[in-house]
Amino acid sequence: MTLPGFPDAAPLAGLAGGVLIGLAAAIMLLGAGRIAGVSGIAARAAGLGGSGMERSSAWAFVIGLPLGALVIMAALGGIEASFASPLVLAIAGLVVGVGTKLGSGCTSGHGVCGMSRFSARSIVATLTFMATGFATVAAMNAAGLEVLR
């Protein structure tokens, strides 16, 4: 299925992926009582603060992420991906690390888990990072910066 006006969009795969992400967050919340916020859990696994989650659980979640991707990669016979150069990835990673630590969360914790419980902090954070994300891509495009290879 394609969306009228957006021939490159993948709405059904997107929706199915989103439902899986929602189920993953449900498993974490109802099973272990915690928010499935990736930045906080990754920080916890690395011993860089984060929540009071057990280290073993934090590591288990972090290891699960690529394992799940691997299953989809095997099922679909590969996954398309164009990444930026190592230098650009290094800069982006640093900014994402500082930003998510200061802002107490990322797309998963604020965007999925927080917005769905109508948390004011998460709604404000999500609107903010979406706005600066839009602005960053617009500014880079205006400057003619093509980063993906």
Binding site: L20, A32, A43, A60, L67, A138
Partner: protein, 139 residues
């Protein structure tokens, strides 16, 4: 491994599968969504919408449970204040997200898709988190 670690492994795996299926491990898809004023790709909105819809229902179920299935109590954020740190941090995160089209979840999940690129992103992301963590411990 205790029961919570197994639950966390399962949650991570389902999460990673969802990210990959939804196209979020491809920075081109994510930057396509962020390219609102150009050649916009709405796919990410479907991913986010699907995930939020499921969780809206789950947050209605959660209060009916005395405790999580495998833990003594729920650990859910309680803060309600909006501060400069939250907004500034989120603003910075959005800039980093826009630069390379990766946020923490897809960055880690993509370790099996684009190993070198994802590893560089995850390593500097942890360095950034570590920088803030250390700066705060000193103050």
């Amino acid at each position: 491994m205790n029961a919570r670690a197994i639950v966390s492994l399962l949650s991570g795996a389902v999460f990673g599968a969802g990210l990959a299926l939804g196209g979020m491990t491809n920075p081109a898809r994510v930057r396509g969504f962020l390219d609102l004023f150009g050649d916009w790709d709405p796919t990410l909105a479907f991913v986010m919408g699907g995930a939020v819809l499921v969780m809206v229902v789950v947050w209605r179920i959660q209060p009916r449970l005395a405790h999580p299935v495998f833990a003594q109590a729920f650990a859910i954020p309680t803060r309600k204040d909006l501060d400069v740190r939250l907004i500034g941090g989120a603003a910075l995160f959005g800039i980093g997200w826009g630069i390379a089209g990766l946020c923490p979840g897809p960055g880690i999940a993509a370790l099996v898709i684009e190993p070198l690129g994802a590893a560089i992103f995850v390593a500097t992301m942890l360095a950034g988190m570590g920088f803030v963590h250390l700066a705060e411990r000193k103050s």
